[in-house]
């Protein structure tokens, strides 16, 4: 029998490759993995309901708002009839998301029909956020006017200075002060940095490089998610911290908020946020704090194209020309270091750095674990205003974009599939039968008639084996 020919199974490399890439979850993915009771406790707070609502897919938001004011379950068939025929796939996805997040729950109607009903806590608190009612959020106690009031400009420069401090530390710029052991621990925990084998000092990892190329919003969100992972070890309450974070994200820039009534745990959390520049506090005991732009709309990471406020648009500084030259109008060491990740620097002036994108420079970046999309994304995101006004659709020269992508494709000429090798068939007929079967099920990866070997998708191995046993018994 040829069944002993189940040889070596191919090593699966694709998973190894993807694993090393930076995973930036959005709020939905984060909450999906939270246990039910945590979700229920989260939905007690209007701020979280609001944040969750905004993260829902477009269609889901419409569904929720339609049944927000309905006091009884709505039959599932009725909900399904809201969407048009063409979008039924999206409808199914939306239903799944809403169920995953426990936003709505199944309930049976008197007539035996099954209906959807918003989770009572979620409904109550989303209504509160929209229309009012309930208790004020924890940080909005009344305050007298601050005699040391800070304006938006000050807060912006403060927050970017604090945040860049963290990034500077990551790229290993000399200055080591200004960053606490706590922040280093989070960077290590997040895998953005790792301890050097020789002297134990933290060095940046490939995820760290990818992290640097993200836009500011995504950086903050990713960093905070990693921070929240470690929250329980610090003896802080996850729900409490998340709630506070979302309240912060829905606060108004340039306004002061009170620390009165915050629990000791939250005060510690506040000090951590202060360190990363998410809030500004003049003194530790000031009794008030100002949220900065970093803290606002933190969950809103997927819509990086649309700035929320007019003055929010980041100041672009990069010009890319069709001759692959990159001009970066900057004097920040950090930005220069980032540009140098994927270009060959040519000249450096006090306010300008000129580099050129070459095959080697890009390949070096790709070897470092950065993807072409990340490079292009970075260039696009920081494109100079002049680049944007020329043609709003495509700020970068298409030739450069395509070439960077081609250089990446050069490296990915192999695709990996996990499979099981079948070989040493006794007859050509046996081989043909199994090949036909695998082919008809779409699980055949490769076959060779002369050598009578074939490779089957690993997931289908059991099924094919069963078929083979049945077949060989019959013959």
């Amino acid at each position: 029998m040829a069944n002993n020919g189940i040889g070596s199974s191919k090593q699966d490399n694709s998973s190894l490759i993807t694993q090393t890439n930076l995973e930036c979850k959005n709020l939905y993915e984060y909450l999906k993995n939270q246990p039910q009771n945590v979700l229920d406790r989260l939905y007690i707070h209007p701020a979280i309901c609001l944040a969750v609502y905004r993260e829902l897919p477009e269609l889901a938001r419409q569904y929720v708002i339609r049944i927000l004011f309905v006091e009884q379950p709505v039959p599932q068939a009725v909900v399904a009839s809201w969407g048009s025929q063409a979008s039924s796939k999206e409808h199914n996805y939306v239903t799944k998301v809403l169920t995953d997040l426990n936003v709505w729950i199944e309930d049976s109607l008197p007539g035996g029909l099954i209906g959807w009903m918003l989770s009572p806590t979620f409904k109550k608190n989303l209504k509160a956020a929209l229309l009012g009612g309930g208790k004020p959020w924890s940080m909005s106690s009344a305050l007298d006017a601050d005699k040391n009031a800070r304006d938006v400009g000050f807060l912006d420069s403060y927050s970017s200075e604090r945040w860049e401090c963290v990034l500077h530390y990551m790229v290993g710029s000399q200055q080591q002060e200004g960053i606490s052991a706590d922040a280093v621990r989070i960077l290590l925990h997040a895998g953005l940095m790792k301890r050097d084998e020789e002297d134990g000092s933290p060095v940046i990892t490939r995820q760290g490089f990818q992290f640097l190329l993200l836009d500011r919003h995504a950086q903050v969100w990713h960093f905070l998610l990693q921070y929240l992972d470690t929250v329980q070890q610090r003896g802080l309450d996850l729900v409490e911290c998340l709630t506070f974070l979302f309240q912060l994200s829905f606060s108004t820039l340039g306004k002061d908020y009170s620390t009165e009534g915050l629990s000791p745990g939250l005060l510690i959390f506040l000090q951590h946020l202060r360190e990363f520049g998410l809030v500004y506090q003049r003194k530790r005991k000031a009794g008030r704090f100002y949220p900065t732009r970093l803290a606002l709309n933190i969950t809103n990471s997927q819509n990086k194209n649309a700035p929320i406020l007019e003055e929010d648009s980041p100041k672009g500084y990069i010009v890319v020309e069709t001759n692959y030259r990159v001009y970066a109008y900057t004097d920040s060491n950090l930005q220069v270091a980032l540009i140098a990740l994927f270009t060959e620097l040519m000249y450096r002036f006090p306010n300008l750095v000129v580099g050129v994108i070459t095959r080697d420079s890009i390949r070096q970046a790709l070897r470092g674990g950065i993807t072409a999309d990340q490079i292009i994304g970075y260039l696009k995101q920081h494109a100079h205003e002049r680049m944007l006004t020329a043609d709003t659709k495509q700020p970068l020269p298409p030739t450069v974009v395509d070439q960077i992508k081609l250089w990446e494709l050069e490296r990915n000429r192999l695709t990996y599939n996990e499979g099981v090798l079948y070989s040493q068939f006794l007859s050509q007929a046996d081989f043909n039968v199994l090949k036909e079967y695998a082919q008809s099920n779409g699980v055949l990866i490769w076959c060779n008639k002369e050598k009578r070997t074939l490779v089957i998708n690993k997931n289908a191995h059991d099924d094919v084996k069963k078929f083979w046993k049945k077949y060989s018994k019959g013959s």
Binding site: P46, A47, L50, Y53, R54, P57, E58, L59, R61, Q62, I65, R66, L68, F69, S81, W82, G83, S84, A86, E90, N92, Y93, N125, A128, A129, L130, L131, G132, G133, G134, K135, P136, W137, S140, A142, F250, S251, N297, N300, Q302, K304, N305, A306, P307, I308, E310, D312, S313, A383, E385, L388, T389, T392, P395, N417, Q439, G442, L444, W446, N448
Partner: protein, 300 residues
Amino acid sequence: MNNIELPAEKEPEITSADEISLLVVILDTNPTQKMLRDKQNQLTNIVDSVVAFSNSHLMQKAQNKLAVMACHSKTSQFIYPGAKKPLDVRQVDGQYEAFLLVEKTVKQNLAELLASESSTAVTESLLAGAIAMALCYIARLQRTKPPGSKLNSRILVVSGSGDSASQYMNYMNVFFTAQKLNVVLDVCALDQHLSLLQQCCDITGGMYLKVPQITALLQFLLWVFLPEPPIREKLVLPPPVKVDYRAACFCHRELIDIGFVCSVCLSIFCKFSPICTTCHMVFKIPGPLAVKPKKRKLKL
């Protein structure tokens, strides 16, 4: 070699617009509206519904923008964002600060507007003017928006006034301007059908709805007018009504089926006049139609 592509399971592509969407709500607050005079608290109810609806629009996405206008008997005004410095609000209950700000500003500015109303003369609402103002506002935001971003704008008119053809020309001008600017005009009629505004929904691709029950106004607004135009395709919404495309004549402002049209400037008249009142073209008085002499066909 036998390469077979494995069927990859993909999640359905979920479209979500990464753009700023601006909603301008025009609320007809003219005190001469019949339904406002009939019931004492009607205006409060309507304002509450409209504010809740506006806040739901802001709730959809952090990028969404909102403006609310009051269209009064003599003037139209922006009541959110107001002309003055934004109010300094502090949370009083669980409501999100930004929503509270909208509610407070709208109510305060509206109260001021109503208090300044002195004369009791019956005039019709200046809806066309209000729409024009809204279009100007949209055009200004379009100009000042950050480079590289996209602004989708729409206007929602909420009115209980009756139909009137006296502003016909102004209406047509704003409708076609809106169409040119890619601004969608939605109309929510509270009391009577508004046939002229139906035309504008048809021209700009908006929704028209006459609310059957004023008590359920909020729910109707949320169902029909909250979805953005791109998402409307995915939802089953009331089908478009048959639009009455009758034009109003320029002489008496009456809707007519058949009339006279100036061959030079295309002005419409319900009765024949020898001089066009718009372009002063002089026409001959039509005599009996001359019978054409029959042509003799050439035979080959």
